[in-house]
């Protein structure tokens, strides 16, 4: 491992859920104040900010409530990878000497139901939407259904993933879904996209998260337990990757951008998957978490069946995954979701995760995002 250049010294969260008329910007403001308090500092010390949102078209408007200090503030949107991108850009600003202290901020407030829109926005023809193909959800059913057939994964294993995440949500005070469900209830609930059922999917929702980063050599002036950014990598799809919103795919296949982002992050960090002690993996649905275990190098394709049966991804297991319940228990405000993963990872590495604390004093954590139209962000943190 090379000497770290960037540290995280404060994390804040506005819990994810449903908040009536409360504006997304207000949730963002509260998350920022929470993060600044955690770092024992003030907005006036922040020299750059990167702010992610899907529904707020100019998320930099958050400075209206934080303070008009004149600093550069940049809006970020990169689909489900937005939070990882904001964090990466804030870390880069510090690494390149543009700022000593920077923030990554995210907030969102989505209407209920599956994400949709107009196909032309992503360059697809009108008919693709008219006939009912312009949806994100069926991609996940298609990908895991093929994966299960190829690699011998059972539907009970899918249900075990969702049951674990809901169980973790139950012991996470800020989680949205705090009611555990049995494997049988999850498996036998309404099918949404075969073989995925209702309780195997996350839902869009509302919330915010924020992270204070600084030059590693300044970290001790903010925090007695800084967490270092060892790698933060973003990758987009290559030809042949099996992605959302693809009316056709070439015959020659390529790995998911998750594989590319993961490999790049391990290389940058000088850390391997065997060193990771707690992981947050994009669980848009239970199948995605299973696939992402392999795409991020934690197990071979098909080993998930045994891992889940043995409880290897439980909080006390070999590699705890989605310790706060992930997207399944917290929902997905897109702009904030990746920073929730960072919030959770930092708490775990600092031993502040309460009832869901991973035992054994974990030192290395991993956070992974994936989404349309084929983008993945991976962050590796360590104490």
């Amino acid at each position: 491992m090379s000497a770290p250049e960037v540290a995280i010294v404060g994390v804040g969260l506005h819990p994810f859920g449903r908040y009536g008329d409360k504006p997304a910007l207000q949730m963002g403001t509260e998350a920022v104040r929470d993060a600044l308090a955690d770092a024992g500092t003030e907005w006036s010390r922040v020299q750059q900010a990167y702010v992610g949102s899907h529904v707020v078209s100019n998320p930099d408007a958050i400075i209206g409530s934080l303070g008009l200090t004149g600093i550069p503030v940049r809006g970020v949107f990169n689909g489900c990878a937005t939070g990882g991108t904001s964090l990466q850009m804030a870390a880069a600003a510090i690494r390149y000497g543009e700022a000593d202290v920077a923030m990554a901020i995210g907030f969102d407030k989505h209407p209920r139901g599956a994400f949709t829109g107009h196909p032309s926005i992503v360059g697809l023809p009108e008919w693709y939407g008219q006939v009912g193909l312009f949806l994100t959800t069926h991609f996940f059913g298609t990908k895991i259904n093929r994966y299960m057939g190829l690699h011998g994964i059972s539907q009970d294993t899918l249900a075990r993933v969702a049951a674990k995440n809901l169980r973790n949500g139950e012991i996470t005070p800020h989680a949205w879904r705090r009611k555990a469900m049995s494997v049988e209830e999850i498996r036998d609930s309404a099918v949404v996209n075969y073989p995925l059922t209702q309780y195997m999917y996350c839902s869009p929702c509302e919330g915010a998260a924020a992270v204070v980063l600084c030059r590693a050599d300044l970290a001790s002036s903010f925090s007695s337990a800084p967490v270092y950014v060892r790698a933060s990598e973003l990758r987009s799809r290559r030809p042949g990757a099996f992605e959302l919103q693809s009316p056709s795919l070439p015959l020659e296949t390529a790995p998911s951008p998750s594989v590319d982002a993961s490999r790049a992050a391990y290389e940058a960090a000088g850390i391997g998957p065997e060193d990771v002690q707690v992981a947050q993996l994009q669980d848009t649905d239970a199948g995605s978490e299973l696939i992402h275990m392999a795409e991020n190098g934690f197990c071979a394709d098909g080993e998930q069946e045994k891992w889940l049966a043995e409880g290897a991804t439980e909080i006390g297991g070999r590699l705890p995954v989605n310790t706060d319940g992930g997207l399944i228990a917290n929902g997905e405000p897109i702009g904030a979701s990746g920073l929730r993963q960072i919030y959770e990872t930092v708490l775990q590495l600092q031993g502040r995760a309460g009832d869901r604390q991973v035992p054994g004093d974990p030192r290395v954590g991993y956070a992974h995002l994936y989404g349309a139209p084929g983008a993945s962000a991976v962050t590796i943190l360590s104490r």
Binding site: A114, H118, Y128, N145, L251
Partner: protein
Amino acid sequence: MANQVPVAEGVFTWPSDEPQLIASERDGELSFPARPGEDERLLSRRGTLWAFTTQQFRPPSPPYDGNDTAETFQPYALGYVELPGELRVQGRFTESDPEKLRIGMEMEVVVVPYTTRPDGTEVLTYAFAPVADAGVDR
């Protein structure tokens, strides 16, 4: 017989007893749907099922324009069919029961109505049918 129109021009050959999807080609690389300004190329009618799922809830409108409601929506299966030497193409399937679909089975392009406009005009889309059924659902 009801008046029928394709959902869009340039997606599949129609009218035709043996409909084909319309792709385009540039430097040996195929694209479906066809890209403007490239050479048109008709794709094979038969291939093998590569991946599938089902759509159990009515997609949001717009962009979906089926004349059904959340209550009357009929779930359909969808996925990718690998056309040998060409592309894997995504589409709706005529068979909606996932238990009757398996990866590797032979599938064929058909053209079927997916909705009816207020004036009674049926709107047609391409779909993939298991080869044993091809022709039945037209």
